[in-house]
């Protein structure tokens, strides 16, 4: 009997220690690789990286100014398309929808959210690149917006639904129309949450590479028009990392660090906005 209890206690201790080791191992792997990225990226980062164009293979120096601007343009296009669709669609789901349509939209949004990014790339290619015969910033931005819409839509819906019904009733009882209620009462009450969702959406697409491979493609120079192939940071990281040149590898590390910092900052900002919103509502 005591033997059995001792065995159970040993098993208990062993297994609990193992789970702790699992946590430690996963956390340390992740911290290690990130530390390595920061270390390598920091060594490779210099002022030229932000101000110069990439040089041709073999030459050392040069930077990724065009890719930084290009990424900005692509993200801007996807925000311009993705935020309104996500937001207004979410308002419909939470405030206007009946039964069937919201269910269908919700289901397809979840579906779209799970579509592999490379397939989104193919889709944007068939719809835009094939028809316009050009790789373009448009195609890339639209591909990215497709990845952003489901996140914006579902988070808008979720946070609007979380607004207490008494607020809606109060506003309607004062004689405000439904639209006015939504615009001046419900959306402001949920704005932190909605903003968080949108920032997370942007953070997700900012680092996406696969949808850009055959939509916005790449450009060694400045792109003057949205109808031209456009360089972007993620594409450059991929392109430079698989190249055989030492100097390009260095640039890839620097670009990786810049991209990572941007994405992580966006994520932390999103959490911060949400946390602040919650405390305001509670207070």
């Amino acid at each position: 009997m005591t033997d059995r209890i001792a065995r159970r206690n040993i098993l208990n201790n062993v297994m609990l220690t193992l789970t702790g080791l699992c946590a430690l191992l996963t956390a340390s792997i992740l911290i290690l690789i990130l530390g390595f990225l920061v270390w390598n990226g920091w060594r490779s980062l210099n002022w030229n990286f932000f101000t110069k164009l990439p040089l041709s293979a073999g030459e050392s120096g040069g930077g990724m100014a065009n890719a930084i601007v290009g990424s900005g343009i692509l993200i801007l296009i996807s925000i311009v398309i993705g935020v309104p669709v996500g937001f207004l669609g979410g308002v419909y789901l939470a405030e206007f929808g009946g039964k069937t349509v919201p269910m269908l939209v919700r289901y397809t949004a979840d579906l779209l959210n799970g579509v592999p990014s490379i397939v989104i790339g193919i889709f944007a290619w068939t719809v835009i690149v094939v028809r316009s015969h050009h790789f373009s910033a448009w195609a890339g931005g639209i591909a990215l917006s497709l990845m952003m819409i489901p996140i914006g839509l579902r988070s808008t819906e979720q946070f609007l639904r979380a607004v207490p019904n008494s607020l809606r009733e109060g506003s309607l009882a004062l004689g405000a129309s439904k639209t006015r209620t939504i615009m001046t009462v419900i959306v402001p009450a949920a704005k932190q949450g909605i903003l968080t969702g949108m920032i997370l959406g942007v953070a997700r697409i900012a680092g996406e590479t696969a949808p850009l491979l055959f939509t916005s493609f790449n450009n060694q120079f400045w792109s003057n028009k949205l109808g031209e192939p456009t360089a972007s940071l993620p594409f450059m990281i991929y392109y430079f990392a698989v190249s055989p040149y030492e100097d390009w590898h260095r640039q890839a590390w620097a670009a990786g660090l810049v991209l990572l910092v941007l994405v992580l900052l966006a994520n932390i900002a999103a959490r911060w906005v949400l946390a602040r919103g919650v405390s305001v509502q509670r207070g």
């Binding site: 702790g20 699992c22 690789i33 206007f96 919201p102």
Partner: protein, 324 residues
């Protein structure tokens, strides 16, 4: 809208429009409906476009596309099996590593660690889920690949080399490397969703098990984990869907070989990787549409997995909240 407009005193057309807009619930309804419907429409068009553009390949190869093993752009013979094999193999291996570690870590974070450790660890893990895949690829190329080539793969060959799984030259790139990077990329999903499912298990379940004399581990493993199992399985499905569709990191380390190899050390290919590598260079209808059909196959695979994952997660969270 109707009554508001009728009841209003006679107005100029422009003012009527302004009024209509201001408290025009119907207009708002319509506008928001159109935006919501566009999401549905885009998804339908996406499937339609994939279907139409894979037409030449479907017409030429039929279902044999799925199990043919040749990939010959010169002779225009295309089969998907090497890529399906590579995709499924790398994802499966990745989960083999990340599920035990991830669930173990989730148990630790949900059951043992104090709330502060647990929350800060989860915060870290969730940030890691946001790291772009191309960055994982970059890290894999310059750290994992050389390490595996120099130490990892020679070691595996020395110790387990009698198995057909660990034979052939150590390139550093290949199925094993892709699986390792995928396992690192899927940790965060498994940990954060499993942890949430575990936390949703009612306290009484633990207390009842402990009161009956179970050790902490027994209560966790025999009561709490089974209670949360659907959510945990859901997280695994989600991670699997993620791994199957993962493109950049895998493309950078898979080795790009269109043949099927038994050895895990050999270079291979996945569906997403071959699309990424060959799409812009593909010439001719059949070649291009074969690549698009591969995209369709990938889409189908991840769709089924995602749907099942969502159902499972929904089932657990519902049940958990009901009994709270």
């Amino acid at each position: 809208m109707g009554t508001a407009v009728i009841a209003a005193p006679p107005q100029s057309r422009a003012r009527k429009l302004v009024k209509l807009w201001r408290d025009g619930d119907q207009v708002a309804h319509l506008v928001t409906f159109l935006f919501a419907a566009s999401v549905f429409l885009v998804t339908v068009v996406l499937v339609y476009e994939l279907w139409i553009h894979s037409g030449p390949s479907r017409a030429k190869f039929g279902f044999s596309f799925l199990w043919k093993t040749t990939w010959d752009p010169v002779a225009l013979q295309f089969g998907a099996l090497p890529f399906i094999y590579g995709t499924v193999l790398t994802s499966f291996l990745a989960l083999l590593i990340s599920v035990p570690l991830g669930v173990g870590a989730a148990i630790f974070l949900a059951e043992l660690a104090g709330p502060r450790t647990s929350n800060s660890c989860t915060f870290l893990v969730e940030l890691l889920a946001a790291v772009p895949s191309v960055i994982y690829g970059l890290l894999a190329i310059f750290t994992l690949v050389p390490l595996l080539r120099q130490y990892g793969e020679p070691f595996l060959k020395r110790t387990l080399g009698f198995l057909p799984l660990f034979q052939g030259p150590a390139y550093g790139v290949g199925y094993l490397t892709a699986a390792l990077i995928l396992s690192i990329m899927t940790f965060p999903f498994i940990i954060s969703i499993s942890r949430e499912s575990l936390l949703a298990v009612p306290r009484e379940q633990r207390e009842a098990a402990l009161a009956l004399g179970a050790t902490k581990w027994e209560s966790t493993w025999q009561v709490v984990v089974p209670y949360a199992r659907l959510g945990i399985i859901g997280s695994v499905f989600l991670a699997l869907a993620r791994a199957l569709g993962e493109t950049m990191a895998v493309t950078m380390v898979i080795g790009n070989d269109t043949a099927i190899h038994t050895s895990l050390l050999a270079p291979g290919y996945t569906i997403a990787a071959i699309i990424a590598n060959e799409f812009t260079e593909a010439t001719g209808d059949v070649y291009l549409s074969s690549l698009i059909e591969l995209g369709l196959v990938l889409f189908g695979l991840t769709m089924v997995l995602n749907a099942s994952a969502q159902l499972l997660i929904l089932a657990t969270t519902r049940r958990g909240s009901k009994q709270e």
